[in-house]
């Protein structure tokens, strides 16, 4: 594959096909989540990634049984490496294996990249409001990283809801960015336990906190909301009821909704 010109190689990549990826790095992101970095042998053929896209991951048991789940890419930059962060759901089938079973040197099968809607493009002129619950920060992190790597001057603001301080993904990187970048602001919501001295009592994101932590009403901001389904439902609904244009709100729901 390496002796093909890049353009010819690229045309052979099909988002529907499964590709082998080698796990080159894996580390605890939080007590319940793990960041996994994998290398694609066919990296030269991978189409350009767009921040916000996801891949499908397939696991295969010895008897041939397979399980497939979707995971957002945490970065749109590749260099042949794909990065995901997986939250362990204790009763889950796939996430406990990815968080605790998988080892560096193992291989996974992946398909994608997928998605042309819940994405941020560098030419986007509007300010951006990002709202994440838990692992929903992953595709938003890809957007933040792409924004910081480029020169797009629009401001980004992230509102990140986590259960407790140690449950936050990418905390050091986010806080450092908020300190040094004139284009990035960061707001936290702690739902179960806040750091000592935190000005707000822990609790679910409510309308007041939401209104105080997002780009002002009337702004042309493009809003991305991602997380478990009930979180996304609440936030998107509250934004619309407070007068924001539904057409400017994009959502990605990770699951976890009950019943009809």
């Amino acid at each position: 594959m390496t002796d093909l010109p890049a353009s010819a190689a690229r045309s052979t990549w099909n988002a529907s096909d499964w590709h082998e990826a080698l796990v080159v790095e894996a580390y605890a992101e939080t007590p319940t989540a793990r960041t996994i970095r994998m290398r694609l042998p066919e990296a030269a053929a991978l189409p350009a990634l767009v921040a916000g896209q996801h891949i499908d991951v397939r696991l295969t048991a010895p008897d041939g049984y397979t399980a497939v789940r979707s995971y957002s890419l945490a970065s749109a930059a590749t260099g042949g490496i794909l990065e995901i962060t997986v939250e362990e759901l204790t009763d889950g089938e796939v996430s406990p294996y990815l968080v605790r079973g998988l080892d560096v040197g193992d291989r996974l099968e992946i398909r994608g990249p997928i998605g042309g809607w819940f994405v941020w493009l560098d030419e986007e002129p509007a300010p951006v409001q990002l709202i994440a619950g838990g692992s929903g920060v992953v595709p938003l992190m890809a957007m933040i990283r792409a924004h910081e790597a480029g020169t797009n001057p629009s401001p980004f603001r992230l509102l990140y809801s986590v259960r407790s301080p140690e449950m936050a993904y990418y905390r050091a990187e986010l806080e450092e960015l908020a300190r040094v970048s004139p284009r990035f602001d960061l707001d936290w919501v702690y739902t179960r336990r806040a750091p000592s001295g935190w000005p707000h009592a822990p609790g679910r994101l409510d309308l007041t906190r939401l209104a105080a932590s997002v780009q002002p009403l009337g702004s042309t901001a493009l809003t991305y909301v991602c997380g478990a389904t009930p979180f996304v439902e609440f936030v998107a609904d509250a934004l619309v009821r407070s007068g924001r244009d539904p057409a400017r709100i994009r959502t990605e729901r990770y699951g976890g909704a009950e019943g009809g």
Binding site: A15, T66, E233
Partner: protein
């Protein structure tokens, strides 16, 4: 068959009859939407079908409810790899809705409150294969699942079953809808794994 995942056993040992390739069964009902959930009351609700010649038939909520209703139990398959068996719906068959519509069109574009669109071959909407559904498991369809009414085309991946259905436009051209412009398949048959292009 690809490589193995050392130490991965998986939850299910036996192949499940009725489960398309690459799918897994869930018991809850996941939600996938591109934006906020539109809120449409039955009073505001209108549904129309427009033929390729531009002739439009419109139903109010009461008119729609007065049409012959069918109760169906079907399996549904989402492209994000979950399937749900034996879901119960109540609604009006597309055969009923298309009955008075004079058309030679091969394709339909479903349009939703909120702006979502999806294209479906007209063949897939006829012959007892598609409904406009307004009840799920005996209760009015919840807004996050597409209420007041959604398209139900169980033979195709579930993104084709447009939520918050507002209209169906018939056409001789197969134009791509929302996900179809964003990397997803024009047809979407789960048994042939027509997921992405």
């Amino acid at each position: 068959m690809g490589l193995f995942s050392p130490g991965f056993m998986g939850r299910r040992r036996e192949p499940v009859p009725g489960l398309p390739p690459g799918q897994h069964l869930v018991t809850d009902f996941p939600v996938l939407s591109i934006g906020p959930t539109p809120r449409v009351t039955p009073e505001e609700w209108r549904f129309s079908i427009t033929s390729e010649s531009g002739l439009m038939t419109t139903w109010t909520w009461d008119e729609f409810q007065a049409l012959p209703q069918e109760d169906v139990t079907v399996d549904i398959h989402c492209v994000t790899s979950w399937s749900k068996f034996g879901t119960g719906w109540r609604g009006v068959s597309l055969d009923t809705l298309l009955d008075g519509v004079d058309t030679q069109a091969g394709f339909a574009m479903a349009r939703s409150y909120g702006g979502y669109t999806t294209n479906v071959p007209l063949d897939e909407l006829r012959g007892g294969k598609a409904w406009v559904a307004h009840q799920f498991d005996g209760s009015p369809l919840a807004p996050e699942h597409g209420g007041p009414a959604r398209l139900l085309v169980p033979a195709l991946y579930f993104w084709k079953s447009a939520k918050w259905l507002r209209s169906i436009e018939l056409s001789t051209r197969n134009d791509p809808g929302f996900w179809e412009q964003n990397g997803y398949h024009m047809h979407g048959d789960p048994w042939r794994e027509e997921r992405y292009w």
